[in-house]
């Protein structure tokens, strides 16, 4: 029966081509707009580090000190802490794992200065590479003893190792960074999160994850003049903000991230954090009520608008537009079907059940939906191309893939069927006798 109805539908599609093209085109435009917006939104949603970031939390509190330059109370506190607070939180070790971090942009070269590269990396206090699940190709991460003795050690990624030394296995070699030479103790696989969620204010406007090419213990780095990309907020006598400066003793510039499992652990840490911050406030160090709180990775990204609002607004706009197209197509389909009342009445009189008539018309609209999907394919591709040409930070996310193609066909088939339900139901409910008489 299915095949027969399909043949019938094809035959009917050929009968009234102008009407069919209007139907198909309307549906295709709606589906293409929706698909383009959804493609971008799905690329920019979900976990920034699959399997890992779901357990990661960042500590935020109003850690302004009375001598800070900008001393207004923060409505929503940020996550930046002084090194002393960051060390205190990490050293307490209340979470499963914890580390403080800040992004840095450095010229990293081999000691003779023949090869060097400008790369982003993370300065860290605590076992950061391990906590982030960074895969080691060679060597190891730093030991607590190395961290506390401020040993000049560094982890670099395989790309940087290749560039500087022509080999992946750079363990034991030295690299020049800032004023010092650091010994490479580990080589990591190239690492970047899907989206940038660590140290978001130093992201230079990127939504997609930075490629972090080195990890260095923070105190050894500062000893060698290696500082964060920007200093963060500092005390009154320092610059508003300084760049690539290791003179950050009076600044709030590090974030503390924690790995916590389960709501009980989160609640427990939340209490601990609140107590810590309140104690600092009571001692007169923090100028304002600290409002300490934990954010999970995705909550933190939302709070900081890492993914621009435009992305979700566009999805809603495209969704509303698809709905408009669907209502439109439903109307046109109803008109198309009702023009054939007489044929349907005869079929019904000859014994076709309502269910069969319904199925027949639904198959026809499904077919129209699929044709619409095929036309939507180049339209979607074109839409994504347009987005890629735009000067927006998420342009690279507008990538056409096999998944998009599959999603597109599914969406248009679904749209075709949903849109057809009302007209098909309407036509199968007509009483046959009356229609024949009128005809």
């Amino acid at each position: 029966m299915f095949g027969y109805y399909l043949r019938l539908a094809l035959r009917r599609c050929r009968q009234n081509l102008p009407m069919l093209s209007l139907l198909v085109l309307t549906m295709a435009i709606g589906v293409a707009a929706c698909m383009a917006a959804l493609t971008i939104a799905t690329t920019l949603s979900g976990e920034p580090l699959p399997g890992i970031s779901a357990h990661l939390y960042v500590a935020s509190m109003d850690a302004h000190e009375p001598g800070d330059r900008d001393n207004e109370r923060q409505a929503v506190p940020d996550s930046y802490l002084r090194l002393s607070d960051a060390k205190a939180l990490v050293d307490t070790g209340r979470a499963r794992q914890q580390a403080a971090l800040a992004q840095s942009l450095q010229q990293v070269g081999n000691p003779d200065g023949r090869q060097s590269d400008q790369v982003m990396g993370l300065m860290a206090y605590g076992p950061l590479p391990d906590m982030l699940g960074v895969a080691l190709r060679h060597g190891r991460s730093w030991m607590p003893a190395e961290q506390s003795s401020r040993a000049p050690v560094v982890l670099i990624d395989a790309d940087l190792a290749q560039k500087l030394f022509g080999t992946d296995d750079a363990v034991g070699r030295n690299v020049a960074m800032g004023k010092h030479v650091y010994r490479v103790i580990g080589v990591i696989a190239p690492w970047s999160p899907r989206m940038q969620f660590l140290d978001v204010s130093r992201n230079l406007g990127s939504v997609l994850g930075q490629n972090e090419q080195f990890f260095v213990p923070v105190e050894a780095a500062l000893d060698g003049g290696v500082g964060p990309l920007t200093s963060g907020e500092c005390s009154k006598d320092a610059a508003v903000v300084s760049f690539q400066s290791a003179e950050v003793g009076q600044c709030r510039w590090l974030e503390v991230w924690l790995a916590l499992d389960g709501t009980a652990a989160v609640a427990d840490y939340q209490r601990f954090l609140f107590g810590y911050a309140q104690a600092q406030h009571d001692a007169g160090r923090f100028a304002h009520p600290p409002q300490a709180r934990l954010y999970d990775a995705s909550g933190w990204m939302t709070a900081n608008h890492v993914v621009p609002d435009d992305v979700r607004l566009n999805v809603m706009l495209a969704g509303a537009f698809l709905l408009l197209c669907m209502i439109n197509v439903a109307g046109l389909l109803a008109a198309r079907f009702l023009r054939r009342q007489a044929d349907v009445a005869i079929r019904r009189a000859l014994g076709a059940s309502r269910r069969q008539v319904f199925a027949q018309h639904l198959i026809e609209t499904g077919l129209i939906g699929l044709i619409g999907g095929l036309i939507a394919l180049p339209l979607t591709w074109c839409g994504l191309w347009i987005v890629r040409q735009q000067p927006v930070s998420y342009a690279v996310a507008a990538d056409f893939s096999g998944m998009v193609f599959a999603g597109l066909l599914l969406l248009s088939l679904a749209v075709g069927l949903v849109v057809g339900i009302l007209p098909a139901w309407r036509i199968c409910r007509l009483p046959p006798a009356l229609q024949i008489k009128q005809a």
Partner: protein, 410 residues
């Protein structure tokens, strides 16, 4: 009226679909057009800078470690002045279209208590270098320019030049000259006396909705202290701009190049290029939103047309009967137009409520502003005329139905 409403009620499906379609299209169009207007603001507002092709801007000069002291910046400024073809030079904290270094804050008009969020540009010869048009008052004097700020300069007191828009906002209906503006709520906040008013000067902080505050700017004399991202505005005499630009680049590289942050390259552009680059995303989204509006309206037009022509075709016989009973062509035409007006009007009414609801929801969840009520009649007008346009073809065809149709079996 009854003979129009009654058949619509008896055959509910088609009219219902028209109403729904119009409602949704109206809701989308109102909100999209509102966004479109907001995006147009930075593109259409004059920024106050004269001869943008003859102004060279050196920006994204970021100092590594400690910021350059004012004396170093003044040396660089003097070196730029010596470049042949340069007519004016100013060091500044930031400039219009330079969004990476911004100074913004709430200021309060002393006496009126009115507040505004404004941009602050601190620089020693900005009026001259940017070519601002002074409407009232005077430019900064040499001694005022010579001020040395210990900090950035936002907290210090002194003279200021403001835009006309800001003057009217803070001191409505009065002369702003000589009035005092408090820079923030703090008890020891800076107090700036207005000595001049310029026609326009665009702010460099763009937000979702800049309709009101795009032209709120203040100028402070001097050079911002402890400021790691200074900007140089170099006004040329118009000849050989490309050559001067190269000389400006070479001069600044010589003066400051050794202390630049590694990995962030300075830009040396004409102001026109910089403006083009900064406004590109607004242009792009204007095109996108305009495209969306057009497509929404075209789809609705096609939809109403398709439904109405089916509706007319269904009633060919009834129309024939009415014609045979003495109805004129114009009667039929009028009736169909009135019917369409009723349906679209109902749709528009629903759509306006929906538009408002969507706007309220968006305001709560995103940083959008309230839809001005003027959009509602505008949106209604657009959709009502669209409906009339859509019905015209089918209605004319209906009016052309000859009375003889009534005598034939359908």
């Amino acid at each position: 009226m009854r003979h129009i409403v009654h058949p619509l009620w008896r055959h509910r499906l088609m009219p219902l679909l028209v109403v729904l379609q119009v409602a949704l299209a109206c809701a989308i169009a109102c909100n999209v057009l509102f966004l479109l207007q907001q995006r147009l603001v930075p593109l259409l507002t004059p920024d106050g800078v004269a001869e943008p092709n003859q102004l060279i801007v050196a920006w994204q000069l970021v100092s590594r470690g400690q910021p350059w002291p004012a004396s170093r910046l003044l040396e660089a400024e003097a070196a730029l002045h010596a470049v042949p073809g340069v007519s004016a030079v100013s060091v500044a904290g930031s400039l219009p279209m330079e969004t990476s270094a911004q100074m913004n804050g709430d200021v309060i008009g002393d006496g009126t208590g009115r507040r505004a969020n404004t941009a602050v540009y601190i620089g020693d010869h900005l009026t001259e270098a940017l070519g601002l048009r002074l409407l009232a008052g005077r430019d900064f004097s040499a001694s005022e320019r010579d001020v040395h700020y210990k900090s950035v300069g936002l907290d210090d007191s002194g003279p200021t030049i403001i835009t006309r828009a800001l003057a009217e906002r803070l001191f409505p209906g009065g002369d702003a000259l000589g009035k005092v503006i408090r820079i923030g709520d703090d008890a020891n906040a800076g107090r700036r006396t207005v000595i001049g008013v310029v026609e326009h000067l665009m702010r460099n902080k763009f937000s979702q909705d800049n309709r009101d505050d795009i032209d709120y700017s203040m100028l402070f004399p001097g050079i911002p202290g402890m400021w790691p991202m200074p900007v140089f505005a170099v006004r040329t005499d118009g000849a050989e701009v490309a050559g001067v630009r190269k000389a400006v680049q070479a001069t600044l590289q010589r003066e400051l190049g050794a202390e630049l942050v590694e990995g962030i390259d300075p830009n040396y552009q004409t102001y026109a290029e910089m403006r083009e680059q900064m406004l590109a995303r607004f242009k792009a989204s204007v095109w996108l939103l305009a495209g969306v509006s057009v497509v929404v309206l075209v789809v609705t037009l096609a939809g109403i047309m398709g439904l109405t022509s089916y509706w007319v075709q269904q009633r060919t016989r009834q129309i024939g009967v009415r014609r045979a009973l003495g109805a004129r062509r114009s009667h039929i035409l009028r009736e169909l137009q009135l019917e369409n007006l009723l349906l679209v009007g109902l749709g528009v009414l629903l759509g306006l409520c929906l538009a408002y609801a969507i706007n309220l929801w968006l305001m709560r969840h995103y940083e959008l502003t309230r839809l001005p009520w003027t959009y509602l009649p505008l949106g209604a007008l657009v959709l009502l005329s669209l409906g009339q346009l859509a019905v015209l073809g089918p209605a004319l065809r209906a009016a052309a139905v000859p009375p003889v149709v009534a005598t034939r079996a359908a």
